[in-house]
Point group: D2
Chain length 219, copies 4
């Protein structure tokens, strides 16, 4: 990644400490995870939204290759019962803007350009991490997944938390830099920096496309 | 929190969106969690270390009140078997500086100033989150904890990940700003900002001290 | 519990070992969990079903008191996407009879006699344990629950697995004997015996009704 | 399995329902899990113990082949801090006989005949399930494990709970019938029956030995 001034200083500090340049690399059995690319986030008119057009475009390129190479694809969306009784009450207290994220509403419909197929799981999740209180790890483990490619939004929320859990479960975790986005440029950069230093390899999207093109997915 | 320039812009954006100012407040049954204040992090000569003297001092003040009011205290440290066969192999590949964190070594001994008591659990953890693959949630739930006060280090690693999981479990999560630290000032600020916007209330340490002083802990 | 011959021998063995008579008792903040009382299990004509009329009747009595005393109530049902891509493929291989458990189908509709209210969460789960990959623990912890009363079916499947996880999380776990059921009498008895020896207090339903009648639930 | 009278009736019922005969079979990437074969359980003089000599012998045979074929091996033992502050207080209330299971004591030392190697992880766990609050799933997932062979004790406690979680994570779970044991013959049989009907394939030990002999483990 190119780094703006404050991150360059931190990286210099990390390098003196021998911290932050470890690479996990690609494994042999990848899966593609597309996080929360639904209207609430992709429509700038939404209270949570911003312009994520280029993130969507890059994700669609990744989807195209993944489907061609039979690499498993999973989608997620954060959504709640209309009563919000499916989450602790403090969730809405801390994050009142999530009040629009109701199961079945237009706000939580995936962007139509993603063209999710029936065979591609859609996980409805309650927390930022796609692993928290969901069957994601079961799905990945049962397919022998060793590499998880994470795209979507938001870098400072669901992407960050998902990548932390993915690393914890021992998955080689890859973030294609241009295929994740955030409403705040500052939060995006700061979190990509932390993610790359601690949990996942942040790499150019083209590198991930080239890798996927050479993979043989499900037999 | 006072904010430097880039965060002020992000906060302005968040406020236009109605995002990031939700408060969870204090509950009635707090616990104090002291994260990774061991020599590997508190000794500036360690590959992972930096000067955390003021963080230690603030944490000791919080400990003093918590013990006086009989508020449950838990400590954690990240440590591994000498063979490192207790974690996925990619952990060391990504974070080679963790090679010093061996169970029983001087690097993972808690700072003596904390004076941990036998009755205060010490959780040896493998991941950044204190909840991941540990009995922490069992311990907190069985005591009826509704409020978790998180101190220690590092803000951009274990504090951030712990606070995410604490919020997910519905605990009112409180971060006393001066009682958490990080080797990088930039990473510290960026993560405190995200934590306050998304998962926990970041408040002055004095406010937490005043709250604890009025609590009746374990009967 | 009254015990048939083989269990009486095992109990005698356990007693010589000082094993199996520990009691957890009731706490102060109970919640009521009603497990899988949907048509697939309550209709004897279903491939998974059997006559659970008395279990339903007892559960309705518990519900009546719980609602009156404002004790939190949660329902669960096991159900899958029609594609079954939300669970590992071996699930259907091992348990092909679960093929009927499709989200939205008549088989997974709760028994109408339970009259679930909008404010009572319904958790759609994938596994036998109501805690596995669901937000149940978050919901309970955020309410300060210390006692979980478990009713429904099947004793040898979802009840057993749920009670194991409930105990692990430190909740005082109570099974009203007549309010849980199973298609097999033998499996029912053997599992109630194990549950009582290891994880929860199995007590007469009337004792639980009397306890609930004296509780002050949510303020 | 050969079945005594009450189980035969239940199996007949299950067969009429199309329930309980699903097979998961062996996969390509097995791991061997050896559960709690420490002195507290293998020494008949222990409050928790019984004669498990044949279980030990069978497990050693499995270990010999697994090591020869480079199949990953993991051991577990249930053990607590001397203060027991690492688990919810109700654990000892329900299971007072666990008071002897203190970290570092002779009771929790693995049986010397198992000859654990330094490279074979030993997981110190708090609950019956080897997956609960431990890094087991991370270890298995990071090695691409698709098949888990479970041996040790007790069938009605740790084996049953571990197998439930293993199935939930989508692992093909195999129980070699003669390599698991229990202090109670009745509890052993009842739980093997449930395990085979719901979560894992219970097969003769010789079948597992033959399978392992043909496997190529870690490259």
């Amino acid at each position: 990644m190119e780094l703006s001034e404050p991150f360059a200083q931190t990286r210099a500090l990390y390098e003196r400490k021998g911290f932050g340049r470890g690479r996990v690399g690609f494994g042999h059995h990848p899966a593609l995870l597309v996080v929360d690319l639904a209207r609430a986030w992709t429509d700038p008119a939404s209270p949570l939204g911003s312009n994520l057009d280029s993130v969507l475009e890059r994700t669609m390129s990744l989807l195209e290759v993944a489907r061609r190479r039979r690499v498993p694809v999973t989608f997620t969306v954060t959504a709640y019962e209309a009563s919000f009784n499916d989450v602790p009450p403090i969730m809405l207290q801390k994050l009142p803007h999530r009040r629009v994220l109701v199961v079945g509403s237009e706000w939580v419909a995936l962007h139509p350009g993603l063209a999710r197929r029936e065979t591609e799981p859609l996980i409805v999740k309650k927390h930022t991490s796609c692993f928290a209180d969901t069957p994601l790890m079961s799905q990945l483990a049962s397919r022998g997944t060793d590499t998880l490619i994470v795209t979507g939004c938001s870098t400072s929320g669901c992407i960050r938390a998902t990548v932390e859990d993915s690393f914890r479960f021992g998955l080689r975790t890859i973030v294609p830099a241009e295929a994740v986005g955030d409403r705040s440029r500052q939060a995006h950069e700061a979190n990509l920096f932390d993610i790359d230093a601690r949990y996942a390899d942040v790499v150019p999207c083209d590198e991930v496309l080239a890798y996927l093109a050479g993979v043989n997915g499900i037999a």
